[in-house]
């Protein structure tokens, strides 16, 4: 019995998801739109005074990015589950770990990366200086993949459940708090002249840990949901 040469299912699934997204380009704009609207709400809530906005800017951008990610990740597996593709993926010779990693990567490419690119513009809305903007973008670059990975875990756990999106936020938000603390904290540290090395090291460590562990948990959750 000869098997066809194994290639990594990761690439196949990632490529497919990106191709699907290219056929529905408007869907990419929705989380981005939410991101912009959410950040813009804060001046209306707390007043337009530039000094205060500057102080809360990093936190506001980070929280809005977090919420935008969580809202868009809830249907990561829903479509595949509904048309039977998820079943086929889980039954294939590919490891469920690779599937989970591929879906989270696709989510980051389509949601996280645009958020990172858009963040500096929103920081300008809140009158952040260029150094703060740089640190903010860098932390988001490291942090949004973590959010996509954790969101993928939440999406797999809440697959097919009613009010899954809100439940996902409740489940996953506590797990995102360390990322938020180190990410937004780096900007305040930079602004008070403290070294940001520790923040970035911790973010990097979190990314590594989440990158290794989250797909494993997601794979287990997918098998539980599909059974």
């Amino acid at each position: 019995m000869t098997y066809v040469k194994e290639e990594i299912g990761f690439v196949a699934i990632l490529a497919r998801d990106l191709r699907l997204a290219s056929r529905r380009r408007v869907d990419i704009l929705l989380p981005l739109g939410f991101f912009v609207v959410a950040v813009s709400l804060f001046p209306f809530g707390v007043g337009p005074e530039p000094n205060m906005l500057r102080q809360i800017a990093a936190g506001v951008v980070w929280v809005s990015a977090l919420l935008a990610t969580m809202l868009s990740v809830s249907h990561l597996y829903a479509a595949d589950h509904a048309d039977g593709s998820l079943e086929q993926m889980l039954l294939s010779p590919r490891s469920a770990y690779a599937i989970a990693a591929a879906k989270a990567s696709a989510h980051w490419c389509l949601t996280g990366a645009p958020l990172v690119l858009c963040a500096p513009l929103l920081g300008l809305l809140m009158d952040m200086n260029s150094q703060a903007l740089l640190i903010l973008t860098a932390t988001l670059l490291l942090g949004t993949p973590i959010l996509s990975l954790l969101g993928g875990l939440g999406a797999a756990l809440t697959l097919g459940l009613r009010s899954g999106a809100v439940l996902l936020i409740l489940l996953i938000l506590p797990l995102c708090i360390p990322t938020l603390i180190f990410g937004a904290g780096a900007v305040s540290a930079a602004e008070s002249g403290v070294s940001v090395e520790a923040h970035f090291s911790l973010l990097g460590a979190l990314l590594l840990l989440t990158g290794l562990a989250a797909p494993w948990g997601t794979a287990a959750a997918l098998r539980i949901a599909v059974e």
Binding site: L157, S163, G164, L170, L175, I177, P178, I181, G217
Partner: protein, 249 residues
């Protein structure tokens, strides 16, 4: 029934329910006695604190409640993991029974923390490391219960909530470390087993007695709830039907 006791003896819902029914009254009695003793020592015997006056006495409820909230989360995650790994329903049911009690202790810890905070620091809430971690722990408990409530299929609910509890337990150190990093102004650890306590011996005694009281309470309540869960889930089993015949309603 064989008199030999094995690790798996009480994995059978029928035997667990029998155990729970037998021990619960004693647990309630122990809880009552220990609570009375603890409150007496705490509010009657322990001396007034030099800096905080009488208000500090809330610590005899706050600290044991906080300890219980953390211990119960670990117990919940442990039983859920056992239920998942060995496919035993009773272990999963035990985990489900622990969750509301754990959440309650977390809430009590937060609430008494606020009551302690007002006279001590002047505000009802401070975002210090310990209280904030308790708040996040409450979210973790609520998340567990919400996921369980949202899943209709019983087997899926057991496994999914077990996975969530394990993820939570693994994340607790990370969350705690990051919250401490973020803010530290809570009173330093004044009770530890190895170091000399900075509190008077009677204060320590009162806290320990209250902790045991809360332990007995937790056991009593969790056993009762787990028994109810088992009776409900196994309602079609023969032993449950036999019970119904004994108690005609």
């Amino acid at each position: 029934m064989s008199a030999q006791l094995r690790w798996t003896t009480f994995a059978a819902p029928s035997r667990f329910c029998a155990l729970a029914a037998a021990t619960t009254p004693w647990l309630w009695a122990a809880c009552l006695l220990l609570t009375v003793a603890g409150l007496y020592i705490g509010f009657g015997v322990a001396p007034t604190d030099a800096t905080q006056g009488e208000a500090y006495r809330i610590i005899f409820i706050h600290v044991p409640a906080a300890w219980m909230s953390m211990v119960l989360y670990c117990a919940m995650a442990g039983w859920a993991a056992i239920g998942w790994a060995f496919n035993t329903r009773m272990a999963s049911m035990l985990a489900h029974a622990i969750a509301p009690t754990g959440a309650m202790f977390t809430f009590v810890a937060l609430w008494t923390g606020a009551l302690w905070g007002k006279p001590t620091w002047g505000t009802w809430w401070v975002w210090d490391a310990r209280l904030t971690s308790e708040l996040i722990l409450l979210f973790l408990y609520l998340g567990y219960m919400a996921l369980l409530a949202a899943v209709d299929d019983v087997q899926r609910g057991d496994k999914a909530s077990a996975l969530l509890a394990i993820v939570g337990v693994v994340n607790i150190p990370i969350i705690y470390f990051s919250v401490r990093w973020w803010n530290t102004l809570h009173q330093g650890a004044s009770v530890s087993i190895t170091a000399a306590p900075t509190m008077a011996k009677t204060m320590l005694l009162a806290m320990l007695v209250m902790t045991f009281a809360f332990w007995a309470y937790a056991f009593a309540v969790v056993f009762t709830r787990a028994r109810a869960l088992a009776l409900q889930r196994e309602r079609d089993a023969e032993w449950v039907q036999a019970l119904r015949k004994v108690v005609p309603t």
